[in-house]
Each structure stands twice: as C-alpha cells, then as structure tokens.
C-alpha cells in the first residue's frame, strides 16, 4: 500500500513541477518524476503477497514468483523514458544556445 502512496506522490510532484516551475530543465525533471511514478505503480500492481523475483533458478517454484509481465513492460518504459529525456534535453541545449536563457517566460512562443 505504501508503494501506491509513493507512486501517486511522485506523479503529483511531477505534475506540480510542470505547472509551477519556469526553468526548462526543472520541467524535464518533472517529466522524469512522472515517469518514475508510473514505473513504480506498474511494478507494485504486479506484486503478489509472498512472491519473489521471477527467475526460476534453484528451488524457486512457479507458484512463488510475482507477475513478470508488468516488469517486462516497465523495462520497455524505462528505455522510452531515457530516449524522451535525452531528446528533450538536446532541444533545451539548442534553446539555450539561441535565446541565452532557460526561463520559459523569456523564450518567445512558450508562455502559458
């Protein structure tokens, strides 16, 4: 249950960062926080009481392991998250080179 609380908390902090902060790099940090919250949520949904890691080595029986499918999907999600973050950071580098600022209010066409 505390994992659900932590996941919802991470997502809430991420959304607040996106809404309230002006610095572009802090906004990207907000996106990665939402990403981590979603990953934690998926992993904790796949947990089964008393289960262990889904690797059937030694004397681990198939009835003792947690759900492996959410873990495989989270592996995909982590890689996609890395790609999105790297692309966003490179766009921010270009924005900084052009406007000499990271404040989204001072960059034209980026106000809300």
């Amino acid at each position: 249950m505390i994992f659900y609380l932590a996941a919802a908390f991470l997502m809430a902090i991420g959304i607040y960062t996106l809404l309230a902060k002006k610095n572009l790099i802090k906004m990207i940090l907000g996106i990665t926080l939402i990403d981590s919250g979603v990953n934690l949520l998926l992993i904790s949904i796949g947990y089964i009481n008393g289960g262990t890691a889904p690797i059937l080595l030694g004397d681990v029986k198939p009835s003792q392991v947690v759900d492996p499918l959410p873990q495989a999907l989270v592996l995909t999600n982590i890689v996609i998250g890395v790609s999105v973050t790297a692309l966003a950071l490179s766009v921010v580098i270009r924005v900084y080179r052009h406007y000499k600022t990271l404040n989204s209010d001072e960059v034209r066409d980026m106000k809300w």
């Binding site: 959304i15 809404l19 080595l57 759900d67 492996p68 495989a72």
Partner: protein, 230 residues
C-alpha cells in the same frame, strides 16, 4: 498567485484521484495474473530461459522489443541532427584538466566496466539484467573516459558501423525465423537445458546484439551532448 493556487489544487485533486482509485479498486499484493500465468508455468519449457522477464521481452514479445530498439535509434538520430557540430579536431571541453586520481582511476576502471557490462548482457537469460542494462553500463564506462580526458572523443565511423551490424543481426534473426518457422522471430535454435549459459535458443544472440547496440547508441548521445560549445 492565482495560477499557483490553481496548480496546487489541481495537483492535490490528481493525487487523491489516483490514490483513492488504487486503494479501493486495486488491492495490493493480490494475484491477478491473466496471460502471465502461462508465461510463469510454461515459460521455461517453451523458451528455455530461466529469467521469465527476459523470456517475455525477447521471445514472447520480441517484435515489441525490436520497436523499442528502433525508438532508441530514432532518438539518437534526432539528437545527432539537433546537436550537429562540425568542429574537428576536438576542442578542449573545459579549462582545467582532470586530476591524476580521476585519470588513473578511469584508466583502471574502463576495461573492468566494459567486462561487467558484457557479463550482464551475456547472462541476460539467467540472472537479473539483460541487453539494455549491460548497454547502459558500457556507456557509463565511456562517460568515465570523457570525464578524465577533456579532449577525448569516440571514433564515430567505427561506432556507426558496429551499431548497424548488430542492428541488422537482430532483424536478420527475425527474418531467418520467418523463413524457417513461418513467423517473425521464430525460435529456430534448440532450447538446451535450462540454467546453462548456452541455452534458450535465440535469446542470448539477440541480447548480445541489443547490448552492443544500446551501448553504442547511448555513447553516441553522450558524445553529441559533450561536444556542444558555449
């Protein structure tokens, strides 16, 4: 000020909506395996991989993983297009050189980290880890080189060739499966006995290819970001 109050209210609303839905509708720790009970009970027989996450990622959902590698490739290409920098030879990235401790430490750790990354992706079907994790460790080894030497730069031509070859290996194995077994990424190699290094059919080959490809791509991304001048 109104904007800030509005965003705090919105965030609180989102938080309570997510948490209340989870707490009431999705009880924690309950067994709700649908399709994955087949993966858990039949996975070792069908794929030969002891690590069930690897069995799902590379064998059952291998086509999905090919798409995932493509996403990473497209992102690396996009970063190269955005941050293109033609300066050659490489200029110094910082005014001060790294200290002796950092240079010696990175020289000693670089081969060990490459070996550890290779270990992680070769044993992807037996232990926690796999191609993506091993590739990330290899890229970290190259970050050490960049930190220690302010003029260091990778050989882009060699990295591009390596990346293309291993990427084509993945697709070629899929097409070979199509020719031999009738569908894309068919497991045409014998499964062997579980929990041995040479087992699980095509999984080790694909994971070695993914590991080298991810390592080369993330190193390329880092090189593009390091080469930016003020």
């Amino acid at each position: 000020m109104i904007k800030r109050i509005f965003s705090i209210l919105l965030v609180a609303l989102v938080f309570f909506a997510i948490f209340m839905t989870l707490a009431t509708d999705v009880p924690f720790g309950e067994d709700r395996t649908g399709v994955s009970s087949r993966y858990i009970y039949e996975g070792v027989n069908e794929t030969g991989a002891v690590n069930l996450v690897t069995a799902i990622v590379v064998n059952y959902r291998g086509f999905d993983t090919l798409g995932e590698v493509t996403v990473l490739f497209v992102a690396a290409t996009g970063i190269g297009a955005i941050l293109y920098n033609r300066s050659h030879p490489v200029k110094k990235r910082s005014k001060t050189e790294a200290s002796l401790i950092v240079r010696t430490g990175s020289d000693i750790l670089f081969p060990i980290m490459l070996l550890f990354g290779a270990y992680i992706f070769v044993h992807g079907h037996l232990t926690p880890g796999g191609g993506f994790q091993g590739g990330a460790i290899i890229a970290t080894a190259f970050v050490f080189k960049y930190v220690a030497d302010t003029r260091y730069s990778i050989d882009h031509a060699k990295f591009t060739v390596t990346e293309s070859i291993v990427g084509m290996t993945f697709a070629l194995i899929g097409i070979l499966g199509l020719i031999i077994g009738g569908f894309f990424l068919f497991n045409f190699l014998p499964n062997g006995s579980p929990a041995e290094l040479l087992s699980a059919g095509i999984i080790p080959i694909i994971y070695v290819a993914i590991g080298i490809k991810v390592g080369a791509e993330i190193t390329g991304i880092i090189d593009n970001m390091m080469g930016v001048q003020q």
